[in-house]
Structure formats: structure tokens, C-alpha cells
């Protein structure tokens, strides 16, 4: 009996030891590991090195690891809408929403060893919000509410606003607003176009034009223990077949923009569990602009009919197999705070599930508008394979179902924006990609006086709703304005026609850990949280 008890005790002890060891091993799997070089492919290359003046992921992917921003978007938040501090240790917003005060981390050093203080944050934001002559700031309009940026002491930055704006905090987490060194800016505002000098987790090693960008671990990084990687190498690879081949052959771990569904499938079938796939709705969208000064698109019944003709749900099912689109969404990315709830979405023109009823309504509207037998028009599309071309073909097919005769004209990508700007179209594919899902940023282009209002609609109600949602302090109140704007834009007036939300697919080596997909390919490129299992 005593013998049996002893054996049992030994067994229990052994089980406990094994379990503990197993637990430790499992924990070790999730615990960041130091070392290694992350290699990623970038389909584009930086024009200049100055993020305040640029607008391409080709810059942000290889260079973001050299910099910090005041705030950042939580690298582990899948919606990409949660602001957290980067150089800001804490912050405070006055009750009237007019003063934002940020306390900065102490002991933050630039890569040249000098200390980063509020003077540098102020100089960087002054350059973005009030650009000096000769400096272009692509995002200054997003800070129109800011009256002044102050640096009352070395570790405090204060933004005084002319009016309260609900997007301000998130806007200050923009991945483009790198903090530059004030002394350098004071000497030469153009220095950062050709040089790198930040406070980020990786220091600059070299940029071989057309070939690669190399960064190495910043040993004096202020966020102790980070980064985990010894360095990183960004390879510039334009061809998507080569990008896939690079990941497949182990020459690269990841590509941070997106692969297409067939490319994802190809990698998964070739590499099995050596590949990890992360997917997310993408804050990029193709929508159809109709020129409001050209007949019959001046008639909202015609515009509504064009939207009603689209079977978005069936389109989503089929197109998502071949190209970069998937979700049926409204004016905000599905799954984000201001996204349209499905029940409300279905009430918008062309979003109901009964496609026969939608198309019957479309035909009725065309009849009412005096074009009962349909009409012919030219649809201009951008000469980019994905997702423009499949989407264009799908749209034409859908419009034919209500008796419209549509001719597609492909315009070379380089000539596309000038064509839109000239208004040289009847109906054209328009596009937008955001860096943070935020109504202020995503909807500004639909305001009547916007430079990007290519369809040239004039709608005071939309202008007013945009202003109201932007200044609403209460999120629930803001949602109401956003929904009202959406109804006006996509339903009542159908100024534009939203197609399908882009869908982001990151198929990466399973060795890569600590990186979370977000709806924006401009976010989460600092690489401070990323590590490699081997």
C-alpha cells in the first residue's frame, strides 16, 4: 500500500514537473527573442527621405524604423484606431477640448547622441502645420484646427486649438509625423529630404538605390529592451512574382503591403505551416465618381440607378478570390469604431440583399429620369491590374444588367490623376487610401470645395454634416452625423458609388512574431515589437 502511494506521489510530481516545463517552453515561444535580421520586400522605393513631404508606403516601410512620432497607433490593435504614446509618456486634454498637453519621455536620444526635447517636437509639428516657404506639407489641412504648438518646458508640448476636433489625438498618431531634430531644421529645412536622423529603434546603415535599405539596432534606444531585432534589410522588389518568390525561397520574411489571394494561396500551398497569414479589411477603396456637370449624371436618379445595379455581396464572394477586395462596407472600414452596422448598411441604395428588387428600382429610376432604354457612356479606369481591372470589368457587367451600354477606357496610371483633375470623364474609377481609419481623414474629399471632389458635386448639407461630425465631442453624437453624411453621400444623392473595401493579406514567414496587421499599410512599420523565432 505504502509502495503504491509512493509511486502515485512520484507520478504526480513528475506530471507537475513536465507540465511546468511544458508551460515554460510554451511561454518561451511567445516571449520575444533577441537577435536576427528581418528581411522584407518593398514593392516601391522612397522618393525622398522626408515623410512630412511624401505620401508613399515606399518611404514609410523602409524608413519608419529610424523614427518616433509623438503618439502612435497601438501596434497590437487590429482596428488601427487606438492611439497610444510613442515619445509622449502621458497626455491630457482640457475639458473644452482646446488644449492638448503631452509629457515626453526623458532620456530620448537622437542617433547622433543629442537629447530629444519638446523643442524638436515643436519644430517638427510647426514644419507640418505651418510649413516654411519651399516646404510642402501634404497633411497640413488635417491640422487646420491647431492655432499654435508650444514647448513650455523641455519635456512638455502643448497644442492649442482654434476649435475642438474629435480626430485630433488620433491625427497626432499619424505615422508620417516623424520627429526631426530642431537644430538641423533651423539650419536647413531640406536636410531631411536626403538624410536620416531620428530617435527610432534602428539606426541607418545604407540605402543602395533600387536595391536595398539597411538598418541596425539602436543600442541606446530609449524604450529599454527594444528593439528585439539586430537589424533589418528592406529589399526593393517591384515585380509581385519576385516578391512571392522571395518569401517562398526564404530570401525575405515578409512584405508589409499586401499579397493578392492567389499569391497567398500559392505561398500557403508551397510552405504549409512555415507561412502565417494575417488578413484585414484595408483602408483603401475604389469608388466611382460621376461628373455632376455632365448629363445624365447631373440627375441623382441616374446616379442612384448605377449604385442599385451592383450586386455587392455576390461581387464580394467572387472578386475576393482573385483580387484585393472583399468586404461590403460603408464610408468607414468594417470593424472600426465608426463603421456602418450591417442592418443600417442594407438600407442604403444598392446595399440590400434582394438584387432583383434593387435592379427593378434602378430601371424605374432610369425610366423616371427619361432614359428608359438605358444609355451609353464611357467608364475610365486606371491601368493598374489589381484591383482596378477586375473591378472595372465587374462594374461594366453589373451596369449592363440594367440596360446600360458601357465602354471601358483604360488610362495609363501616370496620366490618371491629371485626367481626374481636368474633369475629363463622365464616369471614372476614383481611389483613396488612408493612413488611419478616421472620418475626418476619410471624408474630407467629399466636401464641396475639396480639391479631390472630382465629380464636382455641390452639397451644403454634406459640408455641414462633415463639419458637425468633426467637432462632435461625444462619439455617439458623432456616429449619428457620420451615418447622416453616409446616407446623403451614397443613398439620397448618390454623389459617388462605393465598390468593395480592399482586403489586406500579409502572408509571412512563421518565424516573424510581434507584428499585427491593421487596416492601413502605413501603420505598424516601426519594427520595435517585431522579433524572429530563429
Amino acid at each position: 500500500m505504502r509502495h503504491r502511494t509512493m509511486w502515485l506521489s512520484a507520478l504526480v510530481a513528475l506530471t507537475l514537473v513536465v507540465s511546468a516545463a511544458w508551460g515554460t517552453a510554451a511561454f518561451a515561444q511567445d516571449k520575444p527573442r533577441r537577435g536576427g535580421e528581418l528581411v522584407f520586400v518593398v514593392p516601391s522605393e522612397p522618393p525622398s527621405y522626408d515623410a512630412h513631404q511624401e505620401e508613399t508606403f515606399g518611404l514609410i516601410h523602409p524608413t519608419a524604423p529610424h523614427y518616433n512620432t509623438l503618439m502612435r497607433v497601438d501596434p497590437f490593435d487590429k482596428t488601427g484606431t487606438k492611439p497610444v504614446g510613442d515619445l509622449a509618456e502621458s497626455w491630457n486634454i482640457s475639458k473644452d477640448g482646446l488644449i492638448y498637453t503631452f509629457k515626453l519621455h526623458k532620456g530620448v536620444k537622437f542617433h547622433d547622441g543629442s537629447e530629444m526635447t519638446s523643442k524638436d517636437v515643436k519644430a517638427s509639428y510647426d514644419r507640418i502645420i505651418f510649413p516654411p516657404p519651399g516646404i510642402k506639407s501634404l497633411r497640413k489641412d488635417a491640422y487646420a484646427a491647431v492655432e499654435v504648438v508650444e514647448a513650455p518646458d523641455p519635456y512638455t508640448v502643448r497644442f492649442r486649438l482654434k476649435y475642438a476636433e474629435s480626430s485630433m489625438l488620433l491625427n497626432l498618431a499619424s505615422p508620417w509625423n516623424w520627429i526631426y531634430k530642431a537644430d538641423i531644421l533651423a539650419k536647413d529645412q531640406h536636410w531631411y529630404e536626403t538624410h536620416i536622423m531620428g530617435t527610432g529603434p534602428f539606426t541607418f546603415v545604407e540605402h543602395i538605390k533600387g536595391s536595398e535599405w539597411v538598418g541596425k539596432r539602436n543600442p541606446n534606444y530609449w524604450d529599454k529592451g527594444k528593439p528585439y531585432l539586430d537589424g533589418y534589410r528592406a529589399l526593393f522588389v517591384k515585380s509581385s512574382a519576385q516578391q512571392v518568390a522571395a518569401v517562398r525561397a526564404g530570401r525575405a520574411h515578409i512584405q508589409f503591403r499586401s499579397f493578392s489571394p492567389p499569391e497567398r494561396d500559392q505561398l500557403v500551398s508551397a510552405l504549409g505551416d512555415k507561412i502565417t497569414v494575417q488578413e484585414s479589411p484595408w483602408d483603401c477603396l475604389n469608388f466611382v465618381s460621376m461628373h455632376h456637370e455632365k448629363k445624365p449624371f447631373d440627375d441623382k436618379r441616374v446616379r442612384r440607378a448605377l449604385s442599385l445595379a451592383l450586386d455587392r455581396y455576390e461581387g464580394s464572394k467572387n472578386l475576393s478570390k482573385i483580387t484585393l477586395v472583399k468586404d461590403v462596407g460603408g464610408i468607414q472600414v468594417p470593424g472600426t469604431p465608426y463603421a456602418t452596422p450591417p442592418a443600417e448598411l442594407e438600407k442604403l441604395a444598392g446595399y440590400g440583399h434582394d438584387i432583383a428588387a434593387n435592379r427593378a428600382e434602378a430601371r424605374r429610376l432610369l425610366k423616371e429620369a427619361g432614359v428608359p432604354d438605358g444609355f451609353s457612356f464611357t467608364f475610365k479606369n486606371r491601368g493598374i491590374p489589381h484591383p482596378y481591372e477586375p473591378l472595372g470589368i465587374w462594374l461594366i457587367d453589373q451596369w449592363r444588367q440594367i440596360g446600360l451600354n458601357v465602354k471601358q477606357e483604360i488610362v495609363e496610371a501616370s496620366a490618371y490623376h491629371p485626367m481626374l483633375k481636368r474633369g475629363d470623364f463622365e464616369v471614372a474609377m476614383d481611389f483613396q487610401c488612408g493612413f488611419i481609419v478616421e472620418p475626418d481623414l476619410d471624408l474630407a474629399r467629399f466636401v464641396s470645395h475639396s480639391d479631390a471632389n472630382y465629380g464636382k458635386h455641390k452639397d451644403k448639407e454634406i459640408d455641414e454634416l462633415y463639419r458637425k461630425q468633426s467637432r462632435a465631442a461625444d462619439p455617439e453624437e458623432r456616429k449619428k452625423y457620420v451615418r447622416a453624411l453616409e446616407k446623403r453621400l451614397l443613398d439620397d444623392e448618390a454623389h459617388v458609388i462605393y465598390t468593395l473595401q480592399w482586403h489586406r493579406i500579409i502572408a509571412h514567414s512563421s518565424k516573424v512574431k510581434g507584428w499585427t496587421i491593421t487596416p492601413s499599410h502605413y501603420l505598424n512599420n516601426q519594427l520595435d515589437t517585431v522579433w524572429l523565432t530563429e
Binding site: K136, Y416, H417
Partner: protein, 317 residues
């Protein structure tokens, strides 16, 4: 001889000027400009003020004749300006890519010549035998297969069979010869094979023609050994058309390997030119076209000089 060469040399300059005029004006006919493309980015919108400001910075708001004068004055001083897309000096954009393209062109030429000369001569000597047929099949296959296709086959074979891919980053030969060769030997083989096919056929037909000439028959009748007949009398005279083909193909390779460069992710001149056109980077396009045209013109000049050496009748004309 020197008068002939001087005349050829001086002719290079008006040709280059003609290229400059055509390139400068033609590129501006294409819709779209670098400023809009760069500023519109992924958002697809940019204010008119910003567009005006940037166009003024690049001098694009000036009358076109003035832009041309400014540019040609710079070119005369060998200053091609800065890239409108990156803001870097043109030479910084081109130098590494030029080194890579030049190396691929040289390697492909060496491969082509090493294959073409012996095979072409052999085929001519063994005309209508199985050797001739084998060489003809080999060269026709080379002509029929585009280099980029052969490149894709290489890549797929490496990837599927060996799970390997050639290095994706260019390492100069003097830094690491092994890495350099691992990357460049495959495109050089793919391109060199097609190139050799053209040269093989040209060598074969030129040799066949020369071998039937009276002076070769006379040499044989004199009892000269076959090797001397071939090398001293036949091959040198058969080389004129072969030199033309090899030289022109070499010049083409510097800027014309766009698809092959894409297949192997080579950071070469051809791909840079395509990118420059899609960015409407006027200064870079102009510089690249001038570079490629300059290479063609210099190669032509060298070809003329070689003609004069190979065929004395030319220099006395």
C-alpha cells in the same frame, strides 16, 4: 585612316544633339507630370496651390524653350541635374545601375562570342552534316526563346526543385565575386544564349560565303594548312558582319533588358528607364536616353574603327 576616324568622331556630336532635342520634346507630349504623380500618392488628391509651388521648384512653369536651354547648357557641362522624383543627382541614380547593366552586357557578350564563333565556324566547315544540323537547331532554339522566358524557367526551376533563388541584391564583383556571379550568371546565360544564336547564324553564313571565295581556294591550292586558311584568311574576312551584330547587340543590352531585369530583380538601366518614364521623371529620362544613345554612338564609332582595321579598303575610301 585618321581622317576617316576624325570624321566619324565629329559626326557623333550632331547625332547626340538630335537625340537630345527629340527626347526633350517627346517626353513632354505624354500626359501627366512628375509633380502630380508624386504628390497625389495613394490618396489620389492634392491641392492646386501645392502643384503650382512644386512645378515652379522644378522650373516646369517656365516656357518650354527656356527649359530646353537650361537643360542643354547643363548637359554641355556634363551636369544632367537632379532626379525630379528623388531629388538626388542623376549620376547617383545611374552609377550603380550602369555598373550592373554593363557587367551583364559584358558577360552576355563573352558567353555569346564564346559560343557563336566556334559553333558558327564548325557549322560552316561541316555544312549539311549532323554537326551543322545540331548547331542550327541549337541556334534556332535560341532565337525562338525570349531571354526573359528562359529567365523565368531558370527561376522556376531553382525555386521548385532547389527552393533557392539567386541573390536579390547586387554585390559588385570587387566586393564579393562569388555573390556577384551567383546573381548575374543566370541573366547573362539567358541573354547570352539568345545573343549567341544570332551571332552563330551570322558567323556560319559569313564563313560559308568566304570559304567559297577565290583566295581561299588559292590558299588551299598552295597547300596552306587548314588552320591557317581558316584563321588568317577566312575568319578575319568573315568577321565584318559578325562584329556588327555583336557590337549592336552589346549596345542594346545596356538599356534594353527591361523584362529580363524584372524577372531577375536586377537593378539595371532598363528597369530604371521604365520607372523614370512611369514617374515622368523628365531629367532622369533625358539623361538615360542620352546615356544609351551615347553608348550606341560610341559603339558605332568603335565598329567603324574596327571595320577599317579588318578591311583596309574601307579606310582608303
Amino acid at each position: 585612316m585618321w581622317k576617316y576616324l576624325l570624321k566619324r568622331f565629329l559626326l557623333m556630336f550632331p547625332t547626340l544633339f538630335g537625340v537630345a532635342v527629340v527626347t526633350f520634346f517627346l517626353i513632354r507630349v505624354i500626359p501627366g507630370d512628375v509633380v502630380e504623380l508624386r504628390l497625389a500618392g495613394d490618396r489620389g488628391s492634392v491641392s492646386d496651390d501645392l502643384l503650382r509651388q512644386e512645378r515652379a521648384r522644378f522650373g516646369l512653369d517656365q516656357p518650354i524653350w527656356k527649359q530646353f536651354v537650361v537643360w542643354t547648357t547643363g548637359v554641355a557641362r556634363l551636369d544632367f541635374g537632379t532626379s525630379m522624383w528623388t531629388g538626388s543627382p542623376i549620376w547617383d541614380e545611374i552609377k550603380l545601375r550602369f555598373a550592373l547593366s554593363l557587367q551583364v552586357a559584358l558577360m552576355a557578350t563573352v558567353i555569346a562570342v564564346l559560343l557563336a564563333l566556334p559553333l558558327g565556324v564548325l557549322a560552316a566547315l561541316k555544312q549539311d552534316t549532323w554537326v551543322d544540323y545540331a548547331v542550327r537547331i541549337f541556334s534556332i532554339a535560341g532565337l525562338a526563346m525570349p531571354s526573359f522566358w528562359l529567365g523565368i524557367v531558370f527561376i522556376l526551376a531553382f525555386l521548385i526543385i532547389f527552393r533557392w533563388l539567386p541573390p536579390m541584391v547586387y554585390t559588385p564583383f570587387w566586393v564579393n565575386p562569388w555573390q556577384n556571379m551567383l546573381q548575374l550568371i543566370w541573366p547573362a546565360l539567358a541573354v547570352g544564349y539568345r545573343y549567341s544564336a544570332v551571332a552563330t547564324r551570322m558567323t556560319r553564313s559569313a564563313m560559308l560565303e568566304v570559304l567559297r571565295e577565290d583566295y581561299v581556294r588559292t590558299a588551299r591550292a598552295k597547300g596552306l594548312v587548314q588552320r591557317l586558311i581558316l584563321v588568317r584568311h577566312a575568319l578575319k574576312n568573315a568577321m565584318l558582319p559578325v562584329v556588327t551584330v555583336v557590337a549592336l547587340e552589346f549596345a542594346f543590352l545596356i538599356g534594353g533588358l527591361v523584362v529580363t531585369e524584372q524577372v531577375f530583380n536586377l537593378n539595371g538601366i532598363g528597369l530604371l528607364l521604365v520607372q523614370a518614364v512611369s514617374h515622368r521623371d523628365y531629367t532622369l529620362i533625358q539623361a538615360l536616353v542620352m546615356l544609351v544613345a551615347g553608348i550606341f554612338i560610341v559603339v558605332n564609332f568603335m565598329m567603324d574603327a574596327m571595320y577599317a582595321w579588318l578591311d583596309p579598303r574601307i579606310r582608303y575610301r
